[in-house]
Each structure stands twice: as structure tokens, then as C-alpha cells.
Symmetry: C2
Subunit: 419 residues, 2 copies
């Protein structure tokens, strides 16, 4: 395998035209779409239209005339197609953190009613911290115990006393991909509800919420959905649960008739009750453009085709690291079925992951760093726009950074606010 | 008083140049800035820059290089100047509904610790519904009783058993303006915490949170702060309370060191712990442009000067209604000190408020309708861009709508989704 082979793979790639949907900076190899997806070409124009026309000209009337009021449901329906949910089952709202709160709160309400003796919520210590912070807050409030496992194998032994199993389908550090269907089935066999965080899987791997019979799911708008920095998140509730409880963040947009302006809360039918405040119109409109880039892939085979390419990209990356960078440990699963759309490396017990990421960025290869044990160098691949040659070049740069000791330069050791 | 007098008032108005900061549609008299503020001229360009440059070019690095990570605090500090708060005391985050949840939850935590026997939260039945829905949810969760009063006079008798008094400073229906300083002082005398919703007062009337010694405050970004549809909201906590409790929506952005990625939550010092998820960068950037339009008024005398003009506008409106539209009841206080930046009318027990608002909109006069007893026609004035002649013309149109029976046309009786 050499660079020409990578170029040839791109030339033969049926998904290659999708890259044209993005406005990517020249000279950058962007391998951080798992943290912030790239800018779709359609977004700037659409956002300008929302600002200058819908807001500027239409003003308050745009809630009706530009259908702002149904944006959360409209974009939710589009996301539903990406995560295997049905129509009217997904809403866009708030942040992942807040949606975790709503979903877990409802799951706990259900568990309290159906199995009040079960007082444990299971999650993974390596889950994305915000999920754990929110779960910890809710568990304290409702007198549940949050038990964190260090490996998926430990989950089984806890299921008999658990109320809820809350997992992130693809681990943000390693890219480990749970088998959602199998894990959910095991949970259900033991009477445990399954709450899934799709932040690193929605738009990255085929997700089939209905097929897996999951109970609740939330996910991020600004990673593989390309919705822009701080884009609103989404939430799905299995229809069998959706009308059972009010969620606690019961703002007026989740009311059955918000403009009745009645002092008493009456939850909307269905997933709309998971809305809280007034929808973020500009951010949700930008998110819609991002979701549309994924829906554009439907004519190319959709998420299944993207998944094939994603796995080929991360496998190529892993192979090149194994052959050219023996000092690095591959922290992502080598088994395709267990690997999300990223490749994570570490230096084992060695120091310098942060500096290496910085040295790569200076060369135009943008991955990111995640602190931990061990520290991680993360490289996300987004098959909508990542090319085989990008992987080749990224590894080539990484070889140069290491061979030339570039990463030892002092300027790479100063941490930014966001690291 | 005739139309020429109104024109003369505009010509003599020292604040008149501020209207140039807005991009207002030709031929519209916009009297709904209390629902959605108009588009500042600076916003479209700034939003385009955030989308195409900061996101498009800078990608993930903009969290550091474009200081996205401190946006909630930076814009919060600007809002602080508008509401009489100090530096580092305000953050921009989420929606009003969610910030009410955080503020009230913290207030209840404090009350539970300091006065556990007090189990009542007082609010007004006419408070904006979302505040009541959220309060009702929290009270149920924490075993408090939410008592709603029908008039401010009833508050006093409840204070001795109350934990928290939660009020909206300016009533969304009538524009009734509470005396925040006096009401807070009475609450404190009785050992009750005061939580204020500033949705209809921030940017509309001078607010002095520190002077009033309020306990918590939240407010809206898209009304008088001109932040755009669904703009993020803000939250203030009195420094004496801010480090006392974690708020329950404890997402990673409220962590002392979010990028440590530790599984355990450690709240940030100060009001930053009231952040939850990743900040909405595009929406918060738009909000900053809106807040800047108010800060631009500082050289013209700031909110005190805007208030003088606002009162003159609503007084003119009330006088014209009294003399020209005897069929209407003025539902807003006639006393200047008790009137926010709006004038609300009703037909008493008569029908047709909705249709009249629609007929006015067809004539280019945009107010809004709020259902209730009685139904309300609301007209907000925004002294940054509302002119005296707008008030004259609006009343003139209203006279025409009534005199010609225009409002009886069938097309005005069909309700939109948002009414």
C-alpha cells in the first residue's frame, strides 16, 4: 500500500461525490468530525435566509409562515430516518445533557412504577462525562445508586438489581461499539430499561432503535450530524413509553396546547412532550442542513454504504499505524463489528499525546486529544467527506512528527482552554 | 395631539438614531418586540462570520481561537450591565424554562437546608405558563406546594409559610411591573427567597438585581434583548448563593474542568456551574449582537433614557385609545411606575380580540394576541426602534379596523398554530 493506492481507492469510491456537499478548508485534513462535523455547503445560505428573511422580514409571523413552530418535529423526523426510528418519534431540543436528564428521568419514573425494588442505574466509567454527571444528579435526587462498570462484561452481573442501563453506543474515547440489539435484549430479559446515547453513532454507524427495541435514546447534533457548534440535540422515546409519564423539564413547548396559556401543565401527546422551552430556530435550521447531508447519502446506499467506507478508512488507518508507527497503541477495537467511526491511539504509558496532536494540527491534520488513562489521540472519520488519501497523509504526517521529534517543541505543550 | 405632533416628537427624540441599528421591514409597524425582538443590522454579518469563518475555516479549533468556550460568560457579562448584575455573575444558557428549573431547584435546596418547615412556593396564576409548569414539576418532585395568587396583594399573607416567591417582574399579559426592590425586601423580611423572571423586563425597564438584593433571576434572549428566534436565555445568581449548591442539570459545561473528562462531577466556581451542555455557539453569537444594541444606548443615557421614552410611548398609546377607541379596555397599569414596556387592550367581555389583531397585521401593524380571561391584544414598544408616529399610526389603523368592521371578515377568525 502506498499513496497512489489510496488515491486509487478514492477514485473508485462511489461515495466520493458526497464530499462536494461540504465546505472544507483547503490544506486541512479534518479528522475531528466526531467532535464537530464540518460545514455543509448549504448551511451558510440557509442560516442567512433564516436570519435576514424569516426573522428580519417575517418577524413574529414566521412562527406560523416559516413553520418555526414545527421545526423540532420536522428535523426530528429527518433524524429518525438516520437512527431507525419512526415518524413522530424524535424531537430536536436542547443539549444532549438535558435530553439525558429527560430520558433518564422518565426511565426512572417507569422503573419506579414497575419495579420499585430495583434501585441501581448501570453505566460505564468511560461513558462521556456529561452523561455520568447528569445520571449522578438524578440518582441522588431520586435515591438510586449509580454503579459504573469498567468493562461491558461487568454489566451482566448487575442486571438483576438494576432499573436502568444507560450506555453510549460508541465510546467517545476508544470508539468501542456496543451491540445495541444484543445488549438491549439482555437488559430486557432481566427487566431493565435501556437508555442509549447515540452521540458518536448517529450518522456514523447504522442505528436501528426500533429494531433493537431500545427504550430511550438521545444524541448530538454537532458531531456526525454536522449541525454546527453547539447544535441542538435530539431525543427518541419508544412509543410504548412515550405517553406514560411527564418528563420533569416540562416547559411550555411540551404542553398539549402551548398557546392556550393555561396555568396547568397538560403534556402533549407523544414525543413532543419532551420539548421544554422555545426552540432554537437558527441552530435547528443549521442542524437541518447537516442532517440533509446524511439523507443525501440515501441514494448512494445510505448509512450502510457509509459504514462500509468508514470501516475501510479506520482499517486502513489501523494497518498503517501498525506497520509504520510501532510506538503507538491502537486503543480502538480492531474487530470491525465493535469499532465506531474513529481510530484512537495512545502512547501506552508514554507522555506526549497532547503535544503530538498539536504538532499534527500545525501540519494541518486535525484530530483531537482526550485526557485519561491513557491519554488518547482521536481521529474521527466521516465517510461523507474523509478520503482514503486523507488517512494516508495523516499517518504520513504523524510519522514525520515522530521521526523529526517535532512534537517535543515547547509550543506544543501549552494547553488551550479546550483540549 | 395629531400625527404631526407625533412626528415632531420623533424629530426631537435624542434616541431616534438608535433605530438605525435595526433592519426593519418597510411598511411594518412592529409592536411585538416583547415577543420577538427585531433583527439588528449587525447580526446577519456576525452570524455569517461564525458559520463560514469560525466554523467553516476554524472548525474544532475555534473553541479556543474564536473563544467559543467562554461565549456564555462573555455575553453574560454584557447582559449583566443591563440587569444590574456584576461581572462573572450571569451566564447565557439553554432556555428560560430550563433556567427557571435550575434557579428554582437551587432556591429550594437552600430553603430546604435553612428553613425545612417551609413547604410553599408562591407564584401568580397570571405568570407566564412555562414558569408555572416548571415550578409545578419541581414542587411535585420535591414535595413542595405551589400556591398561585390572583393578585399581588395576596402574596403577603402567604409569606410566613413560603420557601420561595417566584415572580415575573413584568407580566406578559398586562405589562404590570412589580416593584422588585420592595417585593424582595418583604420576602426577605419573612425569610423567603425571591426568584425573578426578567423575560419582559431585561432590556425593557431598568433592572437592578444587586440593588434589589434578589436571590435568583432568569431571562429571555429573544424579546427585548433582540437575540433572534429561540435565542438562548440567561441566568443570574446572587453571589451569596452561587457556590452553595450544585444545580441538578449538572452537565459537563458546568464542571470545574470539563476537559479533565473525569467521571465525577465537580461544579465550577460561581455561576458557570449553571451551564449544562455545550453552548449554542451560533445562537449565542446572534444574541450578543442583540445585547450590543442595548449597550449602544449607554451613550444616550442607557436604560433610564430608554425607559423615559418607553413610558412616553405607552402613555401616548393609552391616551389615544382612551380618546379614540372607547370600546377597548386598557388592561395595562396607567400608573407609569407599574407599567412595563407594552400596552395591553381587551374588549372586556366582548369577542374578537384575535380577529382584530389579524386585521391589524394585514394592515402592517404587528401586535399579538394572548388568550385568557379576557383575551388580550398586546402591543410592545421597544424604544430602540419604536417611534411616536408608529403609535399614532397603529391607533389610527385600529380605529379603521373597528370603524370599517374589517375585523369581522372571516379570514381573520382562523387561528394559526402560534396565536
Amino acid at each position: 500500500m502506498n499513496r497512489d493506492d489510496a488515491v486509487a481507492l478514492d477514485q473508485a469510491d462511489p461515495l466520493a461525490p458526497l464530499r462536494e456537499l461540504f465546505d472544507l478548508p483547503e490544506g486541512t485534513i479534518y479528522l475531528d468530525g466526531n467532535s464537530l462535523g464540518a460545514l455543509p455547503r448549504a448551511t451558510a445560505g440557509r442560516v442567512a435566509e433564516v436570519v435576514t428573511q424569516e426573522w428580519g422580514r417575517g418577524l413574529i409571523e414566521s412562527w406560523n409562515t416559516a413553520s418555526w413552530i414545527t421545526l423540532p418535529q420536522r428535523v426530528g423526523d429527518k433524524i429518525a430516518r438516520i437512527v431507525g426510528a419512526g415518524e413522530d418519534e424524535v424531537v430536536v431540543a436542547d443539549s444532549t445533557s438535558l435530553n439525558v436528564y429527560k430520558a433518564l428521568a422518565s426511565a426512572l419514573s417507569i422503573a419506579s412504577a414497575d419495579a420499585p425494588e430495583r434501585r441501581v442505574v448501570i453505566s460505564e466509567r468511560s461513558n462521556f462525562p456529561t452523561d455520568l454527571y447528569i445520571a449522578s444528579s438524578l440518582c441522588r435526587e431520586r435515591n438510586y445508586e449509580l454503579v459504573l462498570v469498567d468493562s461491558p462484561d461487568e454489566i451482566e452481573s448487575l442486571l438483576d438489581r438494576a432499573a436502568v442501563l444507560m450506555l453510549t453506543e460508541v465510546n467517545y474515547r476508544t470508539g468501542y461499539l456496543h451491540d445495541m440489539t444484543a445488549v438491549t435484549a439482555r437488559a430486557h430479559e432481566h427487566g431493565v430499561l435501556a437508555v442509549w446515547d447515540l452521540c458518536h453513532s448517529a450518522g456514523a454507524v447504522p442505528v436501528d432503535l426500533r429494531g433493537a427495541d431500545a427504550d430511550f435514546a438521545v444524541g448530538c447534533g454537532y458531531k456526525f450530524l454536522n449541525g454546527g457548534p453547539g447544535a441542538p440535540a435530539f431525543l427518541w422515546v419508544n412509543p410504548r413509553h412515550v405517553d406514560r409519564f411527564e418528563q420533569p423539564l416540562s416547559g411550555w413547548m411540551g404542553h398539549a396546547a402551548p398557546f392556550e396559556m393555561s396555568p396547568g401543565y397538560r403534556p402533549a401527546e407523544g414525543v413532543s412532550r419532551y420539548l421544554s422551552g422555545t426552540p432554537a430556530v437558527i441552530g435547528t435550521s443549521a442542524l437541518e442542513c447537516g442532517v440533509d447531508t446524511l439523507l443525501a447519502a440515501e441514494t448512494y446506499g445510505g448509512l450502510r454504504a457509509l459504514r462500509v467506507k468508514s470501516l475501510a478508512l479506520t482499517r486502513l488507518f489501523a494497518d498503517l499505524v501498525a506497520s509504520r508507527l510501532p510506538g503507538f497503541v491502537i486503543e480502538s477495537p480492531l474487530e470491525d463489528a465493535r469499532r465506531g467511526s474513529q481510530l484512537s491511539l495512545s502512547l501506552g504509558s508514554g507522555e506526549g499525546a497532547y503535544a503530538i496532536v498539536q504538532a499534527l494540527i500545525e501540519r494541518g491534520v486535525v484530530g483531537d486529544f482526550r485526557a485519561g488513562s491513557p491519554d488518547i489521540l482521536r481521529f474521527g472519520v466521516t465517510p461523507l467527506y474523509t478520503r482514503y488519501v486523507d488517512i494516508w497523509d495523516a499517518v504520513d504526517h504523524l510519522v514525520a512528527v515522530m521521526d523529526n521529534d517535532e512534537w517535543r517543541a515547547e509550543r506544543f505543550w501549552t494547553r488551550g482552554a479546550v483540549t
